[in-house]
Amino acid sequence: MPKAIVKYGLPGCIVLVFAAQFYQVHYHRLSRWKGGGFGMYSEVHPKHRQVWLDIDGKKTNILMDSATPKVLQQKAFYLPIQPSPEKLKAFASLAAEEYKADTVSVQIWQPRLNTANNHLTMQMIAEGRYEQKP
């Protein structure tokens, strides 16, 4: 095998993985914690994000609610990791189908801290909606 491949093949792979992760983080909202192992401890962990489903004003924490259909729970598991608009919209559409609802909103919330007074609150960081066309 050529020496250059032996020497630079592995570093090249590392650079490619980093470039792919960096792109996903900045253009497709991948959590910095995931997908490359480079950005851990640089933001709130996805496990501290919550996925709430809003159907006609009734809110459900779908990862915690045991009544949620399994297919939705399995898909929802990845939403805090990558809450991209496309994934949220697809999920809202699936939820509308499962619950036979006309309007569904899926929201990702995460804790925010006011550093000046150490007060904690929740902030919605992403939302996807499904509305049935008339």
Partner: protein, 286 residues
Amino acid sequence: MNKSPEIHIPDISGTGIFLKACATVFVIYKLSQNIEGVWVKMFVLLFSLIIFFFYQKPLLSRFFWIFWLLYFLNYLFFYYPIAANHHFTGAYLSAAIIIFLLNGDENERILQFHIRFMVAAILIASALHKALSPTFISGEYFQLETSTGEFLKPIKNLFSNWKNAADYNASQLNDLFSEPPDGVRIYAMMYPFNGLNAFAKVSSFMAIFIETLAGILIFRSPHKKSSHLIYGLMIAGVFVFRLETGFLSMLCAMGILLAPNIFFRNIYLIMMSLFLALMASGIGLP
């Protein structure tokens, strides 16, 4: 191609019994936790133990590292979105050692280059993510994790006021999670110590600075003691702040391969033993 390499890298075969013990305890710990995928991990550890028992120099066995590389690659392929940094680092490290064991001439120099590059890439990329993260650079993330006792765990338990405040804040966070979020409800957290805000901001900048510095120094001057002093301090700092034992064990393993003398090699070895023991017993896991 298959010429046996001359080994100038440190011989740490004396740690074999310790590694066997750690792997055994880890298997028992994982089984007791009944977590998803535990049987795959158990099979991997069992295979590793068998190699450790039957090979004279298991760490120089190609099968051992190829097996681990396949495990990591399989994990990265099927669980890419949820893989953690130690899965990626484990894959890079296994690949670097396999390349070392398969090649003839100049293999040690290439291994050292790979390890230096890995350390630099991992640390500088990590620092870049931190610098570009709005919640990290503002000190918010650091303050939140310190307030709830997730950071500085070993020190927190030494001070009762700090521990009480952290426990209270952690319960506030749980309360916050138990209610449907509205963006309005506010939970007041206690200050574990005075000057938390300034401490969080300074620590955030220091983390970025020292990770970048350690990465650059290890890549440019891997044989200088000062480079390893900074690298060792960074590892110790990360341990005190966030108990990231699995990943730190790998950073120590890379330190062992680059150590400029026996003193630093032993320091890395002691730190790696501590981290592996904490990881195997579950004490050092989140």
